[in-house]
């Protein structure tokens, strides 16, 4: 989360709530390694990434949910199937993303 810290601090100073999504597990080929983070604010800001763009919008929605409930959440993303609207990774791997509020 070090790389998104400037944004996290700026958003919090602006009075917004912030959630952080972190890649905590990677199986097979994935665009970003373990430890990659993306920060999301209650105002709708986004910084960093957890994949190559494949799951960021889905994670953004999950982060908004986490900010509403205050409950952290582990989400697993695998290969996207034939259904075009399904969220997944194009490169064939599986990632687990942990989404948590920065402060309670």
């Amino acid at each position: 989360m070090k790389d998104v810290l400037p944004e996290v601090d700026a958003w919090r100073n602006a009075g917004n709530q912030v959630a952080i999504a972190t890649v905590v597990k990677v199986e097979g080929s994935a665009p970003r390694p373990v430890g990659a983070t993306m920060a999301v604010s209650s105002a709708g800001d986004l910084a960093g990434s957890v994949s190559g763009g494949c799951v960021e919008t889905a994670v953004f929605e999950e982060a908004q949910e986490v900010l509403r409930t205050g409950q952290p959440k582990l989400i697993r993303y695998g290969i996207s199937d034939e259904m075009a609207w399904d969220v997944g990774l194009a490169c064939g791997g599986t990632i687990e993303v942990f989404v948590e509020p920065v402060t309670e």
Binding site: M1, K2, D3, L5, D9, T22, V24, K25, S29, P33, V34, G35, Q71, P72, L74, E96, F98, E100, V102, T103, E104
Partner: protein, 272 residues
């Protein structure tokens, strides 16, 4: 020594403090199982927070210290008595950032300093010429040392995660920088110059009593072979070589490579 449960805000503040003063720190978080999201901060002489179970805290603390040494982050399962499923704990290690020590505040050093900052390096510029080594030319360097190389090396601690680029192109700066750093545990020592310059340089280092092993550590001419021609391209070439070394690769096109695209962090053990 383990402190009791601390508020999330206190943990976050302590973490940011560790980042600011370059203290190695690891953060352990329960990502599967209860209490989900519980955190333990592992600092050099203490821990802060907790994962809801003292035995789990100590097991995770030991693993986190090992991961910090290896500069690796990972999720690990821990079995607890009385629980069917193991809890999974994500341990993220934040070793102190690597340092790029640049001798010679020349043109190439400017994009090199800038790009290295973007890659997360602490950048130190050393040059005795105030016309070259100044804040206007190096706005984002962490430190500008206006001194000769040997004086600089008295002020700077060269560690196994220090990378040295010698760019001065002038033997009276280069030689003391080379002699001074080849004796250290620096992860990387590269020097600019033509093939001819570098033949002479290697010969002079040998004559000055450096061992063949020490001279062999020198990467010169500095950088990867990408045909770099401008200062910016040379900066990319140098950083490419440094990244490849950090990740245990030699450089080259992925088209002609097999295996993992992404390299693992090579621990700086070779240099220790």
């Amino acid at each position: 020594m383990t402190a009791g449960p601390s508020s999330r805000a206190a943990l976050q503040a302590r973490l940011e403090e560790a980042f600011a003063d370059r203290t190695p720190v690891a953060v352990a978080t329960i990502v599967r199982g209860e209490p989900l999201g519980a955190k333990l901060l592992i600092l050099p002489d203490e821990t802060m927070g907790g994962l809801g179970n003292p035995a789990l805290d100590s097991a995770v603390e030991a693993d986190a210290r090992a991961l910090l040494d290896d500069e690796k982050s990972e999720t690990r399962p821990y079995s607890l008595p009385g629980r069917d499923e193991p809890v999974e704990v994500f341990i993220e290690a934040y070793p102190p950032p690597p340092t790029l020590l640049i001798f010679g505040a020349v043109h190439v050093a400017q994009p090199l300093s800038h790009f290295a900052k973007a890659l997360g390096f602490d950048v130190i510029i050393s040059d005795a010429r105030a016309k070259l080594a100044n804040r206007e030319r190096f706005p984002d360097a962490d430190q500008i040392i206006l001194a000769w190389p040997d004086e600089t090396l008295e002020q700077v601690e060269v560690r196994p995660n220090t990378y040295v680029a010698i760019l001065s192109h002038d033997p009276k700066f280069d030689e003391p920088a080379l002699v001074g750093t080849l004796e250290t545990r620096a992860a990387y020592i590269g020097a600019i110059g033509s093939r001819k310059t570098n033949e002479d340089r290697r010969r002079r280092l040998a004559e000055a009593g450096m061992s063949p092993e020490q001279v062999a550590r020198l990467r010169a001419p500095i950088g990867l072979d990408i045909g770099a021609a401008t200062p910016e391209e040379m900066a990319i070439s140098i950083l490419g070589e440094i990244i490849a070394l950090r990740r245990g690769r030699t450089g080259g096109s992925l088209t002609h490579a097999t295996g993992n695209i992404r390299g693992e962090r090579e621990p700086a053990k070779a240099a220790r």
